[in-house]
Amino acid sequence: MSKKETKLDLKSNWELAPSLESTSHVNLKKEYQLFIGGKWIKPSSGKYFDTNNPATEEKLASIAHGNTKDVDLAVKAARKAYDTNWSKLSGKERGKYIFRIARIMQERAKELAVVETLDGGKPIRESRDIDIPLAANHFFYYAGWADKLEYAFPNRNPKSLGVAGQITPWNFPLLMAAWKIAPALACGNTVVLKPAETTSLTTLLLAEICEQAGLPEGVVNIVTGAGDTGAEIVNHEGIDKIAFTGSTGVGKIIQNAIAGTDKKVTLELGGKAANIVFEDAPLDQAVEGIVNGIFFNQGHVCCAGSRLLVQESVYDIVLRKLKDRMESLIVGNPLDKNTDIGAINSKSQLDTINHYIKLGKEEGAEIYQPEGKLDKKGYWCKPTLFTGVAQSNRIVQEEIFGPVLAIQTFRTIEEAITKANNTPYGLSAGVWTDKGSKIFNMTNQLRAGIVWANTFNKFDPTSPFGGYKESGFGREGGLHGLEAYLKFPS
């Protein structure tokens, strides 16, 4: 009997017309200064660097490049604000300011979303529906804790640390700034923050919002710049606490640098999460979770589900469904409301991803990418699958930070756990099964800071986030996130 035609025709003739988010309400400045002590000041070096739109490769603005002097100025401003003002305010008063920041973020949400998309390349759907609302929610959430620290840690006498030096990554610029600034302020600390150099704009808008909210000068300081600027913050003597989100490589450098000092530190680093699909899983929803796990934000997600482990008996059907689902993913202009996968954040990141795709092919893995053309201008990468891979493949071991998924199979629960844990990382994992007891069995054995069950890449301010092993330590979010910004003198 000949096999019947069962192919779906998902590259539809019914093409969606462009539906671009308006940018008319966004007025970017030509040049952005450093935000230190409540004032916008020029960098002492006089140097600026460009920030570009990765979808068009066009320049958006010039950003000040902060150096030693600027960082020193910022730390001193933060210390002064801490000593004279912020640490002396009651929790209730601090909370008022933080609530105000959250509300203004909501008011300016549309503007923030568009700028996040312009500067970083992420689809407007995500910045509008996820990044910005979630960032505002973090401020709301921690505003609520500001006057309740004694209740959060009863009989432990929680005290603020002082000045926190914070370094954020380029994948969720505003959201990561919110994750860091909101709990720091709620606990009574002041902040010197450096955003990633490719995506400084929304953090600078957040500085504007702090001004708008009447936040006392020096409580939040933003020093833009590159890795050297970050190093100045890490090494500055006046810093009491480092909070870093970024690569494991840089995380190791930071830990080396602060060894022997009494700086507290939290590191939120890379990941290579296993997304584990059992045969009794809700398969169509699992496929959606696989898509959200690896193609969300172009795969620029430290907790991305970049390794798919599928139980052997459902491997064919899951792979087929996944490929069909990928046909309807729209790669293109991030400002289009229908775009699913936007632009890769930078040329250098695109090079890294392409390097791994090449490596995967060389390693003998089978590649799959849906058909379709990419724009010539801008940095783009198609959603990509690799099958026929082993634990020893580099594309299975190393973090790619792009829309590239490595797929393996397993037979037993033990094999799934062994494979999932066989990585230097331990940030997140996903489990897909209809059976509750199986979920709890897995969560007990997976060495990952976050385990999602029948979902993936879901975030909430009330839920702690952080890793095991080389994915870092310390938690952000929830009650645990407060602890990272407090000390408990006996």
Binding site: K4, T6, L16, A17, D284, A286, G289, R320, N454, T455
Partner: protein, 301 residues
Amino acid sequence: MSKIITSIKSVSVDQVGINDRVSRITARSVKNEAKIHGLKMVLNMIDLTTLEGADTVNKVKQLCYKGMHLHDSYEDLPTVAAICVYPNFVELAKQELKGSGIKVASVATAFPSGNSSLEVKITDTQMAIDGGADEVDMVISRGKFHQGEHNYVFDEIAKIKETCGKNVRLKTILETGELGSLDNVRKASDLALHAGSDFIKTSTGKISPAATLPVTLVMLEAIKDYYYETGIQVGMKPAGGISNAKLALHYLMLVKETLGDKWLTNQWFRFGASSLANDVLMQLEKQRSGVYQSKDYFSKD
């Protein structure tokens, strides 16, 4: 028979995941040419329906005319796909629609409750077929389904399909509003698919909730899996509660991204609706003229 059924293993459904997927679909922005194209497709997929105790000869006649002439001041509009009536109006509708290409669909099998014997249901179906129905919309026995008598439900559908024969297409109404969970919707869908339905349909329109996007997605996924497995294409018909153009476009988006182009025709997708057409016509006029017109410019039938 029962051997076949026990081998039907329905995949589980996660409600949260279904709702997530639906909200992602409803975030799709359908504009300009895509919208006009979509709206015309919607009109062409409507099973224009009247299923009231108060139905009269004239009402059915008017409905047939409306189905053929949706809005004559707008050129190149398609007709609806079918007129859906009770069995006693099938002959009349058939006559009124002669030469239009519009199908006549009839509900049968003790619609809407389905609470009768198989013999009565077959007679009911035969009556519709004898009147000239092109399509029969049957209801499943929800009571039997809930009692776990899936074999009974399967056999009943298979029997009605047998009565329909090859030329009359069978739409099987699951009445999802009475099934209680998405897992049950999936199970009932799988039964209906394997028993030989030509379409699976959400609702009678007589109880609330009728069609919803999550339920429709679950059913589309069942159709997809059946197609993967057998190569047999089965149609989908959400019915009841779809009364505005925007919602109808969401449904089409769901079809587009779940099953693709092959299903984007009235051969394989239908809307069971009585008041959807006018809202779609209003939207089309709005696209054409740039302004909304009063409801009174569109005929109510």
